[in-house]
Every structure is written in structure tokens, then in C-alpha cells.
Symmetry: C2
Subunit: 391 residues, 2 copies
């Protein structure tokens, strides 16, 4: 244990990203491991949002719509693009992940006509399957739930699109984006990826892996704030044919003309539905400042190193604990510990200042946010978990 | 003119709502007439949003989801309910108006099966028609655009639902909610009302008039902020059968259970799609404080009186101007002046500190917000318009 304390201290001292923690409003009395559910607030966000209310909304009133607000969804999307390996013009911030999934799924069936099946990663976050069921109901498709690794065998000439989660939200396992996308394309199906648990945590290469469509949320590792607007990626090759079903006025080619018939915007703005939600969008915009100058390689390196250290502490301090997260590099930035009494254990951890979460039926989740999680906190989490196990 | 100055001063002095202007962050150097597009910010909103970021997001982190955030959409909806004449449990705040229209239209076709037509108020805001076209495309319906007054003649046994705007966004004319809803019901069709330009401006009686479904935005007369989340009303009689197509996890009966199959929440929460956008939602929540203790009768009285005074000033100061807004009580809180050079005229008005907006092809719009518009400002607007007309 003494060794682990020294080791944690040495790792923190040598961490090239350690200074980023100062950008966040985090109380050192708690060890926060839920950045994979709700990222911590960057310190400057509160002031920035108040300034938007006072100066842009109050000071400029309606004029702000033509002074930057209207184009904010594409501009902020453009700031997320490098974090998901997307060239400009393919990412827009709007609505929630669920709503963007619906847009993408329905649009995918239109991009791939004559096919009547939607495959859904069987282990994905529930909303993905719920929304797929609704998209199928309206497009005459059927949904089949298939575990991600079986997709290459299950995809067929009937499959219009497959929806896959990049990082499993329960186990933290990463799915191989390049290989699965290639297998789907081999059968003529489109690949739609859910990046909620990977964006801001590990490198994502949408363009390089040929992904067709993707969605992701911004309130986990992107720290955009509770329920912050999500993003939608449409690969350039599909953009002019992307016909999404929530074709509201904000996606029209010329909204101010107030024409009777919709004509989709030529660019990624066609992914919008209604009026952009400016306060949340500009809070996210502010939150994205913390990424300026961050080396994405270091990010992944630290995320894995934090996980490695978690495993090392667990091996020493947790007798026989089962960890669902893979030990190799096929994991995101989260460690999932199996516990038959997960809800109660997590409540006890939170009482002791170690804040993670649990997922039914039996998983304790510890998110590792490379921008602010420390090795010392990892040791604290595992130590506390060990103390609780001993009663 | 001297008479009008004295008259405006007397009207302002006698205005029982005059004190409400102090609740708003408005610079007296401008006369703001665009509260029908973007309401002015209540003074306390900036501080409240900053506190939500610092104390609820930062201070409590993930714990805030179980300390009031998760239920906020229904709670804030419950605050809007009295403004639209709705008993509790029928209003939820979520997503944008466009997205809520899509939910309501698709759900309406399911509530009224065997009918294949959607009627849309031909003069409604464009997004209503765009979204109706998409809802029709996915449900096998056809859309027919009909001016509101012709709905009683045009509705038939084919009509599943008609979407009508309560106040015409161009002319400011109010449509008769009770009469049109009754006529639609007479033919077995459902009535879906768009309240964007009436909520917070004039009395709305959804329950009393038997309206089936309604949507509305919160960033106009409700002052919720730019692009603030919209609301959805589902009459109690339809609630348990309301099956909306954006059935994401936030509308599930037990989201934390993370089940594979969606089961709609028993209450109005089934109108939700994805994770609630908390920063914008709580900004709206704060903004709604300005309605506390406001007599809705006074609100309507003042809105009409402001309009009457606009007409009186126009009669005296604008030689032969054409005003599209009805002079009777069949108008909302907006005056629309016809001007062949509307874009240029509005730019010149804004240069002179009179901020309204224009709508193609030829309409100058002046929104009258009873909580902060003064009679003196009305006189200033008309005077400035007259000066511009004289060159």
C-alpha cells in the first residue's frame, strides 16, 4: 500500500496533463469518477454563460441572431470535428443524442433503399434500441439486436444500417471501428456509430475509417453541461443525399425567406431541426476551450495509464474482485467492477467522497477523465472500495 | 402630436403592469418590439444560470440528477400549464417546437387510425408545414394546406389531425380556438394547436376548449432565452394512448432500469425524448418567475390597449399606412405594418433604436409585450416610422 501511495504520487508528478485539472471547478474533497456520465464544469463556463445572457441576449437582443448565434451549431460542430477525426463541414451540434439517432437512422434507410433491416448493437445504451424500434416502425424496417462482434456474420443484403456503440457503456470495452465499418460496407450496409462514451476520451477517426454517420453527446468527456446538445456527423459523401425526418426550418437552405416548401441546406446545417438552443450551445462552446492545445495522443495514453493503475491497485487491494473491463487496449476510459450489491456499494462510496455510478444489474462504473482524474484519486477509489468490501 | 405624448404618459402612469418592466434587463435607449420573436431577459436569469453551473453542476456534480434535474421538464411544464389553461400533468418542456410538432403529428395519426390526411393552417410558420410534410411521408398520410377559416369546410372523415397556429405570425390575427376545435371534432379530427405566438401574450384555454394536443415555444413572450426548450401539451384523455415516435430513454417509465424494451411513462414524461437540457431548462424556470402574481386578465387588457394606442398613433402620424393586423379583439400582441421596402425600413428603425423585425415579403412586425412594453415606446416607434416615411 505504501508503494502504491508513492507510485500514485510519482505518476501524478510526471503527468503531462496534470495542469489541466486547474481548468475545472472540482473540489478536492471528492474524487470524481463520473465524467463518463456528467463531465465536470470547466471553471470559466459559469461566467461565460452569464455574459451570454447579459451581453448577447440582454445587450444585443434579437440582433444577436445575426451576430453569430444562427451559425453556432455548425461553428461549435467544427470545434468537435477534430476530436472525432472529421474534416470540416460534417458535424453539427443540435438536439439530443436520441433525436439525432432518429434523424440518422431514418436518413440511413433512405440512403440505402430496398433494404428492410436495422441492426443494433445488442449491448448499446437503451435509448439507441428504443429509437431504432421507432425508426423501424415508421420506415417499414425490422430491428435485430446483435452483439457487436457478431455484426460481420449477421449483416446481410437486407441490412440498411447498423448502429454500434463505440465504447460499451457497461463494460467500457471499445469496438473496432475500422473493422466493423469495413465488414458492414462489405455487405452494402451503412455504419452508424454512437460516440457518446468515446468522444473526448479516445481517438476517433470517422473519416479515416469510412464511417457513414455518427452521433455523440457532449456532456460526458466533453464537459458541455447536463443535457448539453448532442452532435451529428454526416460523411461528406452522403451529405447532399441526407434526408432527415426532422426537417424543420433551421435546416432549410434559407430560413429567413419563410418559404412554404422545405429545401434542405446544402451543408451539414441540414442536420438541424428547430431553433438552436443558444444558452446550452454557448456553454458547450466555452467548455470546449479546455481542449485547446491538448495532444490527443497524450489523452489516450493517460486514459489507459489511469486504467492500468486502477487494475494494479485492484490486484493488490481488492481480493478477487471481478472487473468487466478488458485489460488490453480494447477499452475506453472507464473501469467497471462487478458487485452484486452495486447500488448500495456506490451509495456508500459516494458517502465517502468517491463519486462514480452504477448500472443495473451489478456494475460499479469508474470514469477516468484524462483532463482531471488523478492517479491519487484512483488509489483512493480502490482503497475505499476495499475498505467497504472488508466491511 | 403633443396630445399623443401626454396620452402615452398618462397611459404609462396608469398602467397596473408598469412595475413589471423593472424585472427585465432592458436598456431604455432602445425601444424593444421583438418580444414576439425573442423575449427580453428577466434580470435575475444571468445570475441564476451561473449559480446552476457553479452550485448544482459543479458543487453537486452527478448527484444533481436525483436532486431535481431529472423531473425538471415536468415541473417547469407545470409552471407553464396555468398560462395555457391546462390542469396539471399535461405539459412537459423538452426539445424544440419543430421536434414537438413531429411527436404530436405522428402520435395524432396513431390516435386516429384509418385516416390519411393532415391539414395544416396554410398561413402558419413554415416549420409547421415542413414537419407535417415529413410526418406525412413517414405515416403514409397526405398534407393539405388550408387557411384556418376554411378548416370547418375542408375537414372530412379522411382528416386525422389539423395543425393550426393560434396567432398568425405575419398578421397577428388570432384564430378562434374553441370554434375551430369544435369544427374539427365534429368531423372526428384531432386539433393540434401551435401556441408560439399566444402563450404569455393572451389567455389560452386548452382544457376548456377541448384541444387535443398543443406545442409552443418559450423564447417569445415567455422570455426563456434564445432557443429555449419548447413545450408539449397532451390532453389527459389521450395521455395513455399517446405514442410518440421519439421514444428515447427519457420518456421511459423507468429510465434507470436500462431495460432493452421501451415502455412509455404513464404520465406526460412520455413526451420526452433524450436527456433534458438542464442549463436552458433552468434558465427558463428562472424566467418564469416574472409571471408570479400577474393577473392574466390585465395582461390581455394591456396587450390590446398597447395595440389600440399603436393604431391611434398610426392614424395620426402615418399617412395612409396599411396595417395587416385586425383592429378588433381578434388579434394577438403584435402589429404588422405593410411596407414594400420592409427589410430596409426595419434596418433604419433599428439604427434609430426601435427594434422590431420584418417578415417577407413586406411586413414590419412590432411585438407588444405587456410585461415590459410602454405606451411611450409605442409612440416612439410610430413616430420614427413616420419620420422615415417622410424621408
Amino acid at each position: 500500500m505504501t508503494d502504491l501511495v508513492a507510485e500514485a504520487a510519482a505518476l501524478d508528478a510526471a503527468d503531462p496533463l496534470a495542469h489541466k485539472r486547474n481548468d475545472f471547478d472540482l473540489d478536492d474533497s471528492v474524487a470524481y469518477f463520473d465524467g463518463n456520465s456528467l463531465g465536470a464544469p470547466p471553471k470559466h463556463v459559469a461566467g461565460r454563460v452569464a455574459a451570454v445572457v447579459r451581453e448577447e441576449w440582454g445587450g444585443r437582443l434579437i440582433r444577436s441572431w445575426s451576430e453569430g448565434w444562427w451559425e453556432a451549431p455548425e461553428r461549435v460542430g467544427g470545434r468537435i470535428a477534430p476530436l472525432v477525426g472529421a474534416a470540416p463541414g460534417q458535424v453539427v451540434v443540435a438536439d439530443s443524442t436520441s433525436v439525432n439517432l432518429f434523424k440518422a437512422l431514418v436518413a440511413a434507410t433512405r440512403l440505402n433503399p430496398g433494404r428492410d433491416e436495422i441492426l443494433v448493437d445488442a449491448d448499446t445504451f437503451p435509448t439507441d434500441g428504443y429509437i431504432a424500434d421507432e425508426a423501424a416502425r415508421l420506415t417499414g424496417c425490422t430491428v435485430r439486436r446483435v452483439v457487436a462482434e457478431d455484426l460481420p456474420d449477421e449483416v446481410s443484403e437486407r441490412t440498411a444500417v447498423a448502429l454500434v456503440n463505440h465504447v460499451d457503456y457497461v463494460t467500457g470495452r471499445v469496438h473496432d471501428m475500422a473493422a466493423l465499418t469495413g465488414a458492414l460496407h462489405g455487405a452494402g450496409a451503412l455504419a452508424l456509430w454512437d460516440l457518446c462514451h468515446s468522444v473526448g476520451a479516445l481517438p476517433v477517426e470517422l473519416d479515416a475509417t469510412g464511417v457513414d454517420l455518427a452521433v455523440g453527446c457532449t456532456y460526458k468527456f466533453l464537459n458541455g453541461g447536463p443535457g448539453a446538445p448532442a452532435f451529428l456527423y454526416v460523411a461528406t459523401k452522403w451529405l447532399t443525399r441526407f434526408e432527415q425526418p426532422l426537417a424543420g426550418w433551421a435546416g432549410d437552405r434559407d430560413p429567413s425567406a419563410m418559404r412554404g416548401a422545405y429545401e434542405a441546406h446544402a451543408g451539414i446545417a441540414r442536420g438541424r431541426a428547430g431553433t438552436p438552443d443558444i444558452l446550452s450551445l454557448l456553454a458547450l462552446d466555452a467548455a470546449l476551450d479546455v481542449w485547446d492545445g491538448v495532444d490527443r495522443g497524450l489523452l489516450r495514453e493517460k486514459g489507459l495509464a489511469l486504467g492500468d493503475f486502477f487494475f494494479r491497485c485492484a490486484d493488490e487491494l481488492l481480493d478477487g474482485a471481478t472487473i468487466a473491463t478488458p485489460r488490453g487496449e480494447d477499452r475506453g476510459h472507464q473501469i467497471s467492477v462487478i458487485d452484486d450489491d452495486a447500488a448500495k456499494t456506490m451509495a456508500a462510496l459516494i458517502d465517502r467522497g468517491v463519486i462514480g455510478d452504477f448500472r443495473p444489474p451489478n456494475v460499479l462504473r469508474f470514469g477516468l477523465a484524462p483532463l482531471y482524474t488523478t492517479y491519487g484519486e484512483v488509489l483512493r477509489a480502490v482503497t475505499t472500495l476495499g475498505e467497504l468490501a472488508e466491511g
